[in-house]
């Protein structure tokens, strides 16, 4: 059964991919991209990668789609027909693809339990996690502890994106009174959004603190948290959303998350351990690990939520055609 779902989903992905290349309406393409991402997230569920599925859906189908929509709204909606057709791209792609197919011929088969990836390094993570880290979710233990340094890099990457968007687009404050033109038509939506808003934030906290036991963690929580505010901004207007969480605060929060993460690492050094060694944080190693993981996941969540909001505000506070008066360039 799993195989069937796997095969069908891959087929659907392929069809969607071809449609994305062919279609010229960027709006339609954006929605297909969202569907593409949703399908791949489904595939991740089938392939046992529940954490990844959660993230891909929230990032790919959620945030990326919204960013794409905002960009299409600020630029053109229809892609022009290329003025010249060249065979070179097709040639490059065919060669690259052929090389990859050639490379698959000696690969271990899909799902083979004796493949090298399942024999070296990884089995020890599964075996040692219960006693060394003491959390059931092995993905969390590897992410936050064994390869915690990669995750620090990941937070830095998203922080970089935040700074970049801040520098490129800036976040200009909107007046509260500046409401969407059809504000009065949105009563139902506003009521629902207001009801949902606290629930979404609560759910984000659940995902954050439940990440040790089930799919989830700081990153996913941050995205969900930000999504709640995006919903609020969509229904109540940007000015109101910026009053709830001022853009100036967002920059500080984004930096604070990275600092919290690195502070945990440096604390490990100060206590005589290595950078990011959690064992020394508490009297017994396992509770040290728990504490360390909790703190860094919180740091990740703060930065991710703040940066996604910076990015969102940055995009939606631009006016079509670049009529942003404050911008000198």
């Amino acid at each position: 059964m799993q195989h069937l779902v796997d095969i069908v989903l891959l087929g659907l992905l392929m069809i969607t991919g071809f449609a994305i290349v062919r279609m010229r309406s960027l709006l339609a393409v954006t929605m297909l991209t969202s569907i593409y991402s949703l399908f791949s997230a489904l595939l991740f569920v089938v392939l046992d990668a529940v954490d990844v599925a959660l993230t891909e859906a929230a990032i790919g189908a959620g945030i990326s789609t919204i960013l794409l929509l905002a960009t299409v709204a600020l630029t053109t909606e229809y892609e022009k027909v290329p003025s010249h057709r060249s065979l070179l791209p097709l040639l490059v792609v065919t060669l690259t693809g052929a090389a990859l197919i050639y490379g698959t011929l000696d690969m271990p088969h899909y799902g083979d339990p004796n493949a090298p990836v399942h024999r070296h390094v990884a089995p020890d993570y599964i075996e040692d996690t219960p006693e060394e880290i003491g959390v059931p979710n092995v993905v969390t233990s590897v992410l936050a502890s064994y390869r915690g340094y990669d995750t620090l890099g990941e937070v830095t990457v998203i922080f970089t994106a935040g700074v970049g968007v801040l520098a490129l687009l800036g976040v200009h404050l909107r007046k509260r009174t500046e409401q969407p033109s059809d504000y009065h038509k949105l009563v139902v939506l506003r009521v629902i959004a207001k009801l949902f808003f606290p629930l979404i934030l609560l759910f984000a906290l659940y995902v954050l603190f439940h990440g040790d036991y089930g799919p989830g963690g700081g990153f996913q929580a941050g995205v969900i948290f930000a999504t709640g505010f995006v919903l609020y901004a969509l229904t109540h207007g940007l000015g109101n959303a910026e009053r709830v969480i001022p853009p100036a605060l967002l920059g500080i929060l984004a930096a604070a998350g990275v600092l919290l993460y690195s502070a945990v690492g440096i604390e490990g050094m100060l206590l005589g351990g290595k950078f990011l060694e959690y064992n020394v944080l508490a009297d017994d190693p396992v509770s040290g690990q728990h504490l360390g993981i909790l703190l860094i996941e919180t740091g990740v969540g703060i930065t991710v939520a703040a940066v996604i909001l910076i990015i969102y505000f940055g995009f939606v506070s631009r006016r079509p055609g670049g009529a942003d008066a404050q911008d000198p360039s």
Partner: protein, 494 residues
């Protein structure tokens, strides 16, 4: 405590200071923060080099997890040298940056600028220090993303398109590297480079590993702008703010070369890379093409930044040429070249930044007779140009000397000939600068154009002085480079 954690601190200090820099509201404070950190990084780099020279390769397990389960920092002589290059450039460019950035950027962007600079520094250092293939990808992305932002902050609108083009190509390169790392992981089950080196020989006759090798090589070649994947480079250097041109030209591509060395010699091993995959032959031809086309195109450029950018493409060709020889002498020559070229290009772009500040243009026709008004800056350009050509008593001579010697040692006298011939091409474009600035009368008056400020002139001349010093006394550098090269080439021998 401090010394034993040196490898981690080398990267963590700039990383932590980046968010702090964003929090500092005033542009001056952000600059001070970046300056302090750059010098701290230089001090650490020197200490680290000393440690490596005394004790040999340093390994640092992050999170105290044993390899290959955790991520390892591994610093050998090569890594220590490349860190030193990055640190020197960073430390010299920061005092220089204040004036240049103040003039070229709006106040509101200055905080973000220094934050991105620190992030870029973090990324570049992280790439060099790490002993983990995936961690390399992560830090590569930190440095790339921050450099896209830095480039896009240039005044000209073409900075935006240059940054976009770099973003697209850079991301393709990074994704290729990711695919390659994935395939390597698939065949070995590990991501640690030392562990990979041990486990790859058992599977290196599989088609999967061969494809993995090809993909990582192509991915890295995009990053280091090896011909013909260099098309992102000229525009990125030209339209970026001056400080960014200096920093990226002197460090980013060098780190790309470092990754290539790591890959060929440490991870896959000389035998697989050069005997089985014949990568030496391929990159040698590409390098020759880069040297010739880069120099030729540079001759016809009227914009000095563009001229130097194409010259960079050629110089990268020389460095890769050394690597392609795959002998101890060749690799050593490549490393020396890498080090010296960073100093030369850094100095040259710095001098251009000074001209940009006073003149607002680096078009050749606007520079006529500039020697009178900016004698020190023009002298710096000429000194740097001589070094670029490879005139004796400059660092450029040392690097070319070793390269030619390595080529002759390998019995490749046509190669030596090409190096000499292309140096003649370099003479031509350097002469064009000399002619314009010294022997042409200024067409129209340039009132108010005077020597670049001391804060910019001193760093420029510091690099030039370093250049001349190496030209006279290169023993320390060549000694270290020989050690590094011997370790690389010898490591893979049975």
């Amino acid at each position: 405590m401090l010394l034993s954690n040196l490898p981690a601190l080398q990267v963590v200090v700039p990383l932590v200071s980046a968010p702090i820099c964003l929090l500092l509201r005033r542009p001056g404070h952000a600059w001070a923060c970046a300056l302090t950190v750059s010098w701290a990084v230089l001090v650490m780099a020197v200490l680290l080099l000393r440690q490596v020279a005394l004790e040999g390769t340093v390994s640092y397990p992050l999170g105290a997890w044993a390899t290959p389960w955790g991520i390892e920092y591994r610093i050998d002589m090569l890594a220590a040298l490349v860190i030193l290059v990055i640190a020197i450039i960073g430390a010299v460019v920061m005092p220089y940056a204040r004036r240049s950035v103040m003039q070229e950027l709006d106040d509101e962007h200055i905080g973000a600028f220094y934050t991105c600079y620190l992030l870029c520094l973090t990324g570049l250092l992280g790439i060099v220090v790490t002993g983990d293939a995936f961690n390399l990808f992560v830090f590569l992305e930190i440095s790339s993303l921050s450099s896209y932002v830095l480039i896009s902050l240039g005044r000209d609108r073409r900075a935006l398109t240059a940054a976009f083009q770099y973003l697209v190509m850079g991301t393709i390169g990074a994704t290729f590297i990711l695919i390659g790392v994935g395939l390597m992981y698939m065949m070995t089950g590990t991501l640690n480079m030392a562990d990979l080196a041990q486990r790859l020989p058992a599977v290196d006759d599989t088609r999967t590993v061969r494809v993995a090798f090809a993909f990582v090589t192509v991915g890295v070649s995009i990053k280091l702008a090896l011909f013909p994947l260099h098309i992102w480079l000229p525009n990125a250097y030209i339209y970026a703010p001056s400080v960014v041109s200096i920093f990226l030209a002197a460090t980013a591509t060098k780190v790309g070369v470092y990754v290539l060395l790591r890959l060929f010699f440490t991870v896959f091993g000389v035998q697989f890379s050069f005997d089985d995959m014949h990568v030496g032959d391929i990159i040698m031809w590409l390098a020759i093409a880069a040297v010739l086309t880069g120099s030729l195109v540079a001759i016809f450029q009227d914009n000095l930044k563009r001229m130097l950018a194409y010259s960079s493409v050629a110089q990268i060709g020389y460095i890769v040429l050394g690597i392609a020889l795959a002998t101890g002498a060749g690799v050593s020559a490549g490393i020396i070249y890498l080090f010296n070229h960073a100093l030369i290009k850094g100095a040259l772009f710095m001098a251009l930044g000074g001209i940009m500040l006073r003149l607002g243009s680096v078009e050749l026709r606007d520079l006529h007779g500039l020697l009178r008004q900016m004698p020190w800056t023009v002298a710096a350009i000429i000194a740097g140009g001589l070094s670029l050509i490879g005139v004796p008593l400059t660092a450029g001579f040392i690097s070319k000397w070793y390269l030619v010697a390595a080529a002759l040692e390998g019995g490749l006298w046509p190669l030596a000939f090409i190096v000499l011939a292309s140096s003649l091409l370099t003479v031509i474009y350097v002469w064009r600068i000399v002619e314009a600035t010294c022997f042409r009368a200024a067409g129209d008056e340039r009132p108010g154009v005077r020597e670049a400020p001391l804060s910019m002139l001193l760093p420029t001349w510091l690099l030039i002085a370093l250049n001349l010093y190496i030209g006279v006394d290169a023993e320390v550098l060549t000694g270290l480079a020989d050690t590094a090269a011997a370790a690389l080439v010898g490591e893979a021998l049975p």
